[in-house]
């Protein structure tokens, strides 16, 4: 909104303040000349879901800060989300918004002496130009992992679950497998076992001949 400040703006205090600073009320622009030779950058931070209500930002954004040029100046948000930097020299500046829980892209703002009032602002993250200096978070930030709700698969997948599963397979499925085998073959195998006595590793090795 800050770029083309319409006369029917609701925030009269800001307008008055702006008039004071710019010394001419007809100015309807976000970047205005101050009497110290510098310019004033006005903008707004909008956080969806809350910004619409205007007043009454959540406690979460209470501590939101707006920083110019990596810490050169720091300002805070008014209840309606507006902020301003005064006495800024002409040049290309960087504005960063810091609010816990949200990710804001830094904004490049050109303040030029040649055409005062014309805002050239662009998000540096995605190079999107801004027509007005309204900053919105690119995304919400979630600092914690979310615990998966109880899931039987998570137990099964855990090492201990796998152990139990393996055991169950051995205990209950193996006998079934054995039962399904041909009784003749089982007898044969059992006889072999008896002949061999203790099975040795040599028997299991491929090509290992019968030693006895």
């Amino acid at each position: 909104m800050a770029v083309l400040r319409r006369s029917q703006t609701t925030s009269s205090s800001l307008l008055v303040q702006l008039c004071f600073l710019s010394l001419f009320c007809s100015s309807s622009l976000a970047i205005t000349t101050g009497n110290g030779g510098g310019y004033t950058i006005n903008g707004q931070v909008k956080i969806p879901g809350f910004g619409a209500k205007g007043f009454g930002l959540p406690v979460k954004t209470n501590n939101a800060k707006v920083t110019l040029n990596g810490g050169q100046r720091v300002t805070f948000l008014k209840p309606d989300g507006y902020f301003s930097f005064h006495n800024v020299p002409a040049g290309t500046h960087l504005i960063e918004v810091d609010a816990i829980g949200y990710f804001f892209s830094p904004v490049r703002v050109d303040v030029s002496a040649r055409n005062p009032g014309k805002v050239q602002a662009a998000l540096t993250e995605n190079r999107r130009g801004l027509n007005e200096l309204v900053l919105e978070p690119l995304r919400e930030e979630q600092y914690y992992e979310i615990r998966e709700p109880f899931n039987i698969m998570s137990i099964v997948k855990s090492p201990m679950g796998l152990m139990i599963g393996f055991m169950v397979v051995v205990v209950f499925l193996m006998p079934k497998l054995v039962e399904n085998m041909d009784p003749e073959e089982i007898r044969k195998a059992q006889e072999e076992m008896r002949n061999q006595g203790v099975p040795s590793i040599a028997n299991l090795m491929p090509g290992g001949g019968r030693s006895n």
């Binding site: 004033t40 209470n62 040029n69 500046h93 960087l94 540096t124 979310i146 139990i164 393996f166």
Partner: protein, 985 residues
Amino acid sequence: MAMAMKLSLLLLFFLSSLIPTFSLFEDQVGFMDWHQRYIGKVKHAVFQTQKAGRKRVVVSTEENVIASLDLRRGEIFWRHVLGANDVVDKIDIALGKYVITLSSEGSILRAWNLPDGQMVWESFLSGSKPSKALLTVPANLKVDLDSPIFVYGGACLYAISSIDGEILWKKDFTAEGIDVHQLLLPDGSDVVHAVGVTDLSQFDTYEIDVRNGELLKHVSASFPDGIYGEILPISSDKFVALDARRSVLVLISIKDGQINLQQTHVSDLVHGSSGNTAILPSKLSGIFSVITDTFIAFIKVTNEGKLDVMEKVDKMVVVSDALPLSEGEQAFALVQHGESKIHLSVRLVHDMSSNHLKETVKMDHERGFVHKIFINNYVRTDRSHGFRALIVMEDHSLLLLQQGEIVWSRDDGLASVIDVTTSELPVEKLGVSVSKVEHSLFEWLKGHMLKLKGTLMLATPDEVAAIQKIRLQSSEKSKMTRDHNGFRRLLIVLTRAGKLFALHTGDGRVVWSSLLQSLRKSDKCTDPIGLKLHQWQIPHHHALDNNPSVLVVGRCGLSLSASSAMSIVDAYTGKELHNMGPAHSTVQVISLPFSDSTEQQLHLLIDADKRAHLYPRTPEAAEIFQRESENVYWYSVEAEAGILRGYAVKGSCNLEVPNEYCFETRNLWSIVFPSESEKIIATVTRKANEVIHTQAKVIADEDVMYKYISKNILFVATVSPKASGPIGSATPDESLLVVHLVDTVTGRILHRMSHSGSQGPVHAVLSENWVVYHYFNLRAHRYEISVIEIYDQSRAENKDVLKLIVGKHNLTAPVSSYSRPEVTIKSQSYFFTHSVKAISVTSTAKGITSKHLLIGTLGDKVLALDKRFVDPRRSLNPTQAEKEEGLLPLTDALPIIPQSYITHAFKVEGLRGIETVPAKLESTTLVFAYGVDLFFTRLAPSRTYDSLTEDFNYALLLLTIVALVVAIFVTWVLSERKDLQDKWR
């Protein structure tokens, strides 16, 4: 088959964890981290106790914090950290609901909502020239205006509506040339008095209409002797000032538009005063106080204009401002320091002779003297006045006194940490069990069952709370003995107040604190400031009976040539073992890698005359140093002149008094940067105690690269002088950032690289064979992070197996710092979203674990970024082999994953530094971030591969084992029965 499945699942698990982040579940907060919030040394305090509801005190501090504190317990209701250039001048409360702050030399006025700290309005006051900043909030103005507040700043007087910050009127004083000292609003009148001095020799008072800012009256009187300090009002028509020679008191009284000056010699009033007289700024009606070298005198001004000395008190007494009571009565407080206690007395201005209230409060002598006092009153049930006093101590702590007791205290010295080091805890003695064994097996099992429920998300909210409690109360982590994993340590921090604190890493509590005698204000050392902390004695093998100790180096004054002050402090008790008073100056402290038979580390202190002083001053240390002195090299950075110099030891000092611990130095090399094109803005070197596991780096296709791991690499960043200002002050064409890698033994520049169109500030970290640095790219108008890796080319041929067999390799060749290294450099740059305040890297005990960069962002959060994201070998399309090696495809920007903020939802307000300390467990590193807040956590950059996590579920393991045993028995019984049946058949 099951095995195969298990294997594949395990593989899947490992694959999914390829890029580890420090993700944390919300219920794990406070489990291995702690966060402490501070505000700093209080400058101003305003009480808000009139209305019903929560009683609070609003303070502004030297850390540029404004905060609202609970008057009952001292907790922070809300707090804002203002920008570094936006220093708070004055605070007050208007309308009973807004906190008004005036900052930036009277050019920014802000109102904050008292209950929640939301900024309500902000006014920019564009003054014409710098001046004093004054703020007056009239209590009861009988004028039909929407409650104005009066601000003087930038040589203009403003009336500002306290409702919306609108400027009602402005009166410019630039033309008058007056320097306003006081703004007065006499009760019930509608005139503002601006009282000040013109050209230091004329006293002026302007009367201005409250309604429209019109000048009503101007009276002046010249005072040729000049004025020292400020004019102090005594009543609405009487003022007192001191002449420029500080020997004559001038009483200024205005009667019927005439100014009457009356001079009195200070020595006539009080005997034994010398030149250092000053008027204290306490505003008491009819009384003012004068401080001399030895005492404070309270002087009463009678209606006839006579000065009467009422009382003389000791110079160390601290006087509060006047507190208006009912019926025009005023009270003020005096605090006197006694032996381990302080005496607080409250007096009424009209009745100075007796103490209205006298209390004695026991005070820990480690808190030092009282620096400031603010008082507030309350009405007792018997309708008499009770008083509470907020006092600020020498160690910057804040205490509330009421009824002779300390109600609460805050260690706000911890908001200004200068340096950090760590110390091991004592070894647990045999036979002495400090830890409490778990109460019983049942309790233990119950706890783990609860945890199991928690992990399965089956727990009720009550149970979740119980789990949290069990976790936080685990007595293990706050024990006062060494642990196997090396998680428990003492963090020893030096604060700006010259106080040393030892914090336990388990829960962040203060184990001991000690106000260092060497860093206290004294006649010899008038402006002491702490500089550095070094490990002095680290008992390992020989001197195990000794406690470890730390060396604190400070300086008596701001200039580099000021004499230094040193202390050696026992790390277990906080006792000051040695205290070396003002000695030679100290510009640089070098910890040498040698220690004597009692395991005291040798230190070299370089003074302003480039002499080296050896500590400890023992013959043994001197002998060790003489032996090794040929191999001692160091460098200095003269940022202003743009010169780097390398030094070595030459021989003993040529002093009149022979001193075997003082050495002359010789300049070995210097690098002079051309001042018209390069200005040094950052230098960084490797941490001296860093451990590197291996020089070899196995890359794709079983190839090997050798890291160049010299301890003597210095990273230097320079910018063109035009671009040394803030962002926005230079165009891309005129800014150039150049980075250099310099060998500090030979002075050789190993590598030089320039980034055109870039500028500082540069934050860098150097570790192993790489350096990572953060700077601003003006062309893209984004921040960038670049990495440089250095590889040793001279060892590259060793890959040939044939040569190895024949013996034509140089693996056994000695490594020398003098040799000219053949190095290859790899470099890459990436965009990074945020501004950076500090950058650091994780460090582990053996250097095997992969590294993470710790980036302190502008939002006062600490981001952990895997070093693999800043690997110069990343390419757009990595080959299959490179993918297997774990090389990530190249992206233009570094990812910011919210879960990898190690400070999670906390902020370390005013972040200044990040310190990492290896734990004994190889996978883990301890991280301490400090600023106005303190934050500690421990990290496992490659997950805890060498231990079970703390929330490992023993109950589930036990359950599995029991189930297995039961199953074995069941199957055994079943098989027996089956056998029997088979046999009967």
